[in-house]
């Protein structure tokens, strides 16, 4: 499996660590009225799409970028890779 790193090009997946759903970028406000519900959803609830899925990968054996990888869970095709720090959460 290869990930097309936006700065470094195609790199072998063995250099990366997988974290999970990129919805983790949307961390709720700790002091909002419904903070407990919002954080419960944030920590535990994931959609499990058959198709395009945005997920977080960390280039641990490389430049230590966190990436948002858009991958088709049916075909494993990777259609887009962005730096997580540049994705509008």
């Amino acid at each position: 499996m290869l990930i097309n790193h936006p700065l470094l090009g195609l790199r072998d997946a063995q250099e990366f660590v997988y974290k999970g759903d990129a919805s983790l970028l949307q961390r709720p406000q700790y002091d909002s009225d419904n903070a407990l519900d919002a954080f419960t959803n944030y920590a535990y609830l994931r959609s499990n799409p058959a198709g395009l899925h945005q997920e977080l990968w960390y280039h641990e054996q490389g430049d230590r970028s966190w990436l948002v990888v858009t991958r088709n869970t049916l075909t494993h095709e990777i259609v887009n890779v962005e730096l997580a720090s540049e994705v509008d959460a």
């Binding site: 290869l2 903070a35 954080f39 970028s65 494993h76 997580a84 720090s85």
Partner: protein
């Protein structure tokens, strides 16, 4: 008899070898199969289940029958296909699955019992008594049935791996592959061409026609710098995103390989484009006793003759339903054999001088250890004819295995008479040549099962017959996938290369369903069997994983320290002294030295992370549950890190070296995860903060200097005033040693004693360790290892990895008040959930005069040792030399209620049940006075 009639395409250089202890001679370029055939050795093995005599069927890697063991001892390789094993001087091979000898095999009695040994026989028969299956039946059956044996000696060979990149990977070096490679090369692409055989050329080499055009192509490719030709290299798998695996056999064909030469190299090949030119292999027809030695595929009969110059019999029959049969008939006839041609078709171009039966079929054979005759059916009549070799042309199976490796499903082509790749190919792959059905479209009439009794073998390696398939179908195993698992059809080392299509054809014929509606099973990697050693590559023994050595490793080795593996680190566990006979003596002495004098321990393995930037404090305030905004420069603070779900992640310290510069420490085990987490928080949650992270774990050698005399010792080392007033508890400083070496000093304590951690650049670490002990000799300075470190922290009641086990919260650890409620931090919101916040589980201590085992469950006296009665568990335990008894820490519910009570610490696994009293986890100096003197 079978014999050599010409040098074929291999020449006449003699090579000596042995089979089952008998000496033979072949030619360089022979395979073991061709050389044995040239020596009239038709019987090569015994079959898996019925122990029937078997010879060879094919001339390639799809061979199901001719499996032999090569070599002996540590280099013994079982289940090697004789058809791919190249001959070398001194090669020693032996047959498999026979006792006492190949010709006289006691278990061939199974063949007489074959009526009973049908599909599912074992499952149905050995049902009772139930417990006998594992202990009696299965071992017996396994001994009787089977392939070659492992030597059970460590593999003496070395293996290798590597990574290759190209623009176009061509799989198969036949004419289609060679042409595809040349085309890609001319487009300027970097090309790799892999072929499993020693010589490029593919099936062309096995035909009688001249091969000038093939040789021309090879020469041209060899002259191009952007082409890499890799023979003896089998592409084994096609994986996501243009990643392929391939195995090169470097030395399997050599009599005396270089001692350090790896036997095989496993390659990972990256190529956005792949051309599958893997060709096709012929298939068998199901007639009774179609497995006798001497019955092979028509293409094999022809290939042995044309390439190796070996004629498989004096009278050769060819049984076909396909044009290909004719090519074999022509070549055999030209070589001087008496040829009989049986064809299921009514009309085809005749060959002069060859006896030909049209609209006919072979229905049975005879001969015990080798074919003696065939029974032919024509026009409702049956008659026997003598012959000693039979070639079967049952049609061709394109080698579509690699097209399936990403879920692609082959589809049936009536035109080709075989399964060809579907449209769902691995991205970037295209299929050319015979693999795509090219050259195979011809005059063909489908013929599957022509047997009289059903004792026709469909999968010769697993001894699956037509009868088995019919039975399985009757019993309801209708799906091909179920049929495969019930009968083991296609599950052998050849992965159904021979069996699958025939099996599906037989099923189609007997159910009356069209073959395309019967379906097919898929193929998975590897394409051919791969030695486990090749998958391991160079990662064996010490090279299995990297080792990390601490800066004072050399010192510790000289001291005769005993080492322990902590992750990849090798740490000194304890430093035995002369006269100490048990590890506990050393550990007790070291732990006492810290409490009474001063000890030195290498703690470099703790993770260290440099956190810098204008928002460094704000960042740490988010990462840690407790506050960091107000930490003054020159001070260190204990930090508690939570996961977002409120469970404790890690703990450590953060020292503020300057306004915008912190040094964070983590536990050894979590050094990498914490760094990853901090990068996550920075890049994903707070990308606008001005924070710059870098790991400095490797850069600094860090030593705990602990004990009442630690200050005295350090004052002789560091160029800094370190009185209690000038350098109080939790102080930190960037400083120098008296010799000018740059250093960092932290007044932090893990042991509960007056203690410091002193860091110097790693290259000075070994020297510093030695210097501390020399300079502090009169103070009783003692090196201590991880064992004493553990004792000291349990005595103090400090949580470590055993307590931060991914289940415990700050509340459980007695640190609930640390989670600041006035700011945002990772895990803060969910830590306040009722479920976690109201937990009554607390960290407590236990004392006993008997040894307490880590992992024991705590049960009130008088209650039975059951899960329902447990109050909690013991997380860390040791003998405390300072208290003179066994102590432990762990977690129990309603801890306040049980403080001072007697409980039982029970380990059912170790059969240990000891009485313990519940106490505070702070066994030593609960008020923390020693830290602050």
């Amino acid at each position: 008899m079978s014999r050599r009639v010409s040098p074929g395409r291999i020449g006449k250089k003699p090579v000596n070898f042995s089979f089952d202890g008998r000496s033979f001679q072949g030619y360089a370029g022979d395979t073991l199969a061709s050389a044995l055939l040239a020596n009239d050795q038709m019987l090569l093995g015994r079959s898996f289940k019925y122990h029937r005599p078997r010879g060879l069927i094919t001339l390639g890697s799809e061979e199901p029958n001719a499996l032999v063991t090569i070599g002996s001892g540590a280099r013994q390789t079982p289940n090697t296909r004789a058809t791919t094993q190249e001959l070398y001087e001194g090669l020693s091979a032996s047959s498999q699955n026979r006792y006492p000898s190949l010709k006289f095999d006691l278990l061939s009695v199974n063949d007489r019992l074959s009526r009973f040994l049908t599909a599912g026989f074992y499952y149905k028969t050995f049902m009772w008594p139930r417990s006998f299956w594992e202990s009696v039946y299965e071992p017996l059956i396994r001994r009787a049935a089977g392939l070659g044996k492992l030597s059970e000696v460590e593999d003496a060979d070395q293996y290798d791996k590597g990574f290759l990149h190209c623009d176009c990977l061509v799989i198969g070096g036949g004419i289609a592959g060679l042409e595809a490679a040349l085309e890609a090369a001319h487009q300027g692409k970097a090309v790799i061409l892999c072929d499993e055989n020693p010589r490029l050329g593919g099936m062309e080499l096995f035909d009688s026609a001249p091969i000038d055009s093939v040789e021309g192509l090879i020469k041209e490719l060899q002259s191009l710098s952007n082409v890499r030709l890799m023979s003896r290299t089998t592409v084994q798998g096609a994986f996501d995103h243009g990643v392929y695996s391939a195995l090169t056999q470097n030395t399997d064909h050599l009599a005396q390989p270089h001692k350090a030469a790896p036997r095989q190299t496993l390659w990972r090949i990256y190529s956005s484009e792949a051309v599958l030119a893997s060709g096709a292999h012929e298939r068998m027809i199901a007639f009774d006793n179609n497995d006798r030695p001497g019955v092979m595929l028509s293409s094999a009969l022809r290939g042995y003759l044309n390439y190796f110059g070996v004629l498989a019999g004096d009278t050769c029959a060819v049984f076909g339903c396909h044009d290909d049969a004719r090519k074999t008939v022509v070549d055999l006839h030209a070589a001087g054999a008496k040829v009989i041609w049986i064809d299921t078709r009514s009309a085809h171009e005749p060959v002069d001088g060859v006896q030909c039966f049209t609209d006919a079929r072979v229905v049975d054979t005879r001969g015990r250890h080798r074919l003696k005759g065939i029974e032919i059916e024509q026009g409702g009549e049956r008659f026997w004819l003598p012959c000693d070799a039979l070639g079967v042309a049952g049609g061709w199976n394109p080698r579509v295995q690699l097209t399936c490796h990403q879920g692609g499903r082959p589809r049936w082509s009536n035109d080709v008479g075989g399964f060809i790749s579907g449209t769902d190919l691995p991205p970037g792959m295209r299929v050319v040549g015979a693999a795509a059905g090219e050259y195979l479209r011809g005059n063909w009439s489908p013929v599957w099962d022509v047997s009289k009794r059903g004792s026709a073998f469909v999968d010769p390696q697993n001894d699956v017959t037509v009868k088995d398939i019919k039975l399985a179908h009757q019993e309801g195993f209708i799906s091909v996938e179920h049929l495969k698992r019930y009968t083991t059809l296609g599950m052998a080392t050849d992965q159904g290369k021979n069996a699958n299509t025939l099996g599906i054809g037989v099923l189609s014929q007997h159910t009356g369903n069209a073959i395309e509606s019967v379906g097919t099973t898929l193929f998975r990697p590897p394409y051919t069997p791969v030695a486990i050693g090749a998958l391991a590559g160079r990662a064996r023994g010490k090279a299995f994983k990297p080792t990390r050595l601490t800066p004072s490793h050399e010192f510790a080795t000289r001291q005769g320290a005993s080492f322990v593996t902590v992750g990849n680190w090798l740490r000194a566990a304890y430093f035995p002294q002369a006269g100490e006979t048990h590890w506990r003596e050393s550990v007790d002495r070291e732990a006492l030295a810290v409490r009474n004098a001063v000890g030195v321990c290498d703690v470099t393995t703790l993770g260290k992370i440099d956190v810098q930037g204008r928002d460094a404090a704000q960042f740490l305030n988010l990462v840690y549950a407790n506050g960091f905004l107000k930490l003054p420069v020159g001070k260190t603070r204990y930090g508690l890190m939570l996961r977002e779900d409120g469970i404790v992640f890690d703990d450590g310290t953060a020292a503020r070296l300057s306004e915008n510069h912190f040094v964070v420490t983590t536990t050894t085990a979590n050094a990498v995860p914490v760094y990853r987490h901090m990068e996550f928080v920075h890049q994903c949650l707070a990308p606008n903060l001005d924070v710059h992270l870098i790991s400095t774990t490797e850069s600094w050698a860090q030593f705990a200097v602990a004990g009442p005399r630690s200050r005295e010792l350090l004052q002789r080392i560091v160029d800094l005033e370190i009185s209690n007033e000038a350098f109080g508890f939790m102080a930190c400083a960037e400083t120098r040693l008296l010799d000018g070496t740059p250093a960092r000093l932290f007044r932090i304590s893990f042991s509960g004693e007056l203690a410091y951690e002193l860091a110097v650049p790693a290259r000075f670490g070994n020297s510093l360790m030695q210097t501390l002990l020399e300079v502090g000799a009169d103070l009783g300075a003692t090196p201590y290892g991880t064992e004493a470190l553990g004792v000291l922290r349990i005595e103090k009641g400090h949580a470590a990895g055993n307590e931060l086990d991914g289940r415990t919260t700050a509340v459980n650890l007695g640190l609930g008040q640390m989670v600041a409620q006035t700011k945002d931090s990772i895990g803060r919101v969910l830590a306040n959930r009722d479920l976690l916040a109201n937990s009554t589980l607390r960290l407590v201590g236990f004392r006993s005069d008997q040894q307490i085992l880590t992992g024991s469950w705590l049960i009130p006296p008088g209650r039975s040792s059951e899960q329902d009665n447990t109050l909690g568990w013991v997380s860390s335990a040791c003998y405390s030399p300072n208290l003179g008894c066994y102590i432990a820490i762990g977690f129990i519910s309603d801890a306040d209620q049980y403080l001072g009570a007697q409980l039982r610490a029970v380990s059912l696994l170790d059969k240990v049940d000891v009485g313990v009293s519940v106490v505070s986890p702070h066994f030593i100096d609960p008020e923390g006075e020693r830290l602050r003197v």
